[in-house]
Symmetry: C2
Subunit: 279 residues, 2 copies
Amino acid sequence: MDSLTPVTLSKTEALAARYGTAEIPPAGPWNPIIASLLDHRSVRGYRPDAPPEGTLETLVAAASSAATSSNLQTWSVISVRDPAKLAVLAEIAGGQKHIQQCPIFLVWLADVSRNERLGQDEGTVLEGMPYLETFLVAAIDAALASQNAVVAAESLGLSTVYIGALRNDVVRVAETLGLPPGVVGVFGLCVGYAADAAKAEVKPRLPQATVLHHDTYDHGAEPAQRAAYDVLMNDFSRRNEMAADTWTARVINRIGTMKALRGRDRLSAAIRSLGFPLR
Amino acid sequence: MDSLTPVTLSKTEALAARYGTAEIPPAGPWNPIIASLLDHRSVRGYRPDAPPEGTLETLVAAASSAATSSNLQTWSVISVRDPAKLAVLAEIAGGQKHIQQCPIFLVWLADVSRNERLGQDEGTVLEGMPYLETFLVAAIDAALASQNAVVAAESLGLSTVYIGALRNDVVRVAETLGLPPGVVGVFGLCVGYAADAAKAEVKPRLPQATVLHHDTYDHGAEPAQRAAYDVLMNDFSRRNEMAADTWTARVINRIGTMKALRGRDRLSAAIRSLGFPLR
């Protein structure tokens, strides 16, 4: 058995990096898997070298091991290597070059078409199909599967980045990959070895007290927590050569305007046109 | 650093268990993290003993380390210990006793309310809020976070099971947990030590060739693959003291009728009523 790519930070150091501050939550048990999870960062630049033979199959076996609602397994994944298709996908994603650069590019699919075919073959109408619930189950199945693939990849010293921008035009994604009705690409995933310049610091997250509630949702302390997090994120972005900016400013920039949605205001209509009534 | 809970199967054994057959995919690299991922099984019976102090905080730190779309962090999680609330949640989920039995029960939230409050505090209308895209991002954020928590829990020798049945009545879940508008419970998660009788075999999944496509979606071999998987699943369910049944029969049973949806045909209206226009 290959060894884990070691994470050398202590528990306290890893938590301080993840939360960007010495004020860390009182975490308990710890082990190399948890250390690897805490060490995640998204990487947007890749070396050309391919990972070992069978890496794709290892990642998909990990993905298939995730929970899936009622064992319906309403997800699939496409490994894209065709340069022409990668170019189209990169264009849909607003010119993200790493889609063409990484040695493994995966498109994760919410896929109820398998059930549709099963129903047709068995001569049964599946009454549950046209509902939002069924699409949501498929999207969540795809997310649980892909996250297992991410964890597996990072444990092997590979880096990853999710490409939500495929949702800028899910109809063109479907055309490019020959998707039948009842299948939608919910996001992409780059996998490969990080280019040296591309591996930034671990990005600090909101304090645990902001996202973890006990018995009842309570956001009373949120304004102070957000102000402190804005300072952390401003410092983080300056250190990592992005424009210095607070979290508040980035949130407003990302969802403040219709332009920033990059066409995703049409996602509902597009998903319906791909065979999900979303009733 | 605590050690991993060891998984003793070899790569070949683990893949054979996961796919329920000796016809396994040509997986390559392997390590203890991947072995732990492959060993997943959902557990519906728990011992009463609590995990070590700080386990909840460790799991949430792992969750916060997952990727999140544009760092929006549109998820939250509620740890529920109040017996009265656990009883209501178990009832919503159709009487799943393990919700009241497990020492850690989490409700994972698609949460755009934090952004709503941010926009209000800053005097800015966030134009991207009312779209299906924004809800979908939040649901996927919650799924990526929760799957990291699952991986962390299982690495510590704990077992888990997702509770999608909270979606039977998301409005009552919101009332029970005091959720503000813009927050919906997308699923629950039990965490704890498996009762001896509750730890079944690893459940076989569809063949890798069924879910993994190359450049183009291709389901030509699916009928034969499904027939073979039906045999495997029939055997698996007989061995594990469920009613013997094929995968095909279980899919039809789960989504074939309106009754089987258990109210989730109203999910779209319910989520809208909780403050997501889903435009």
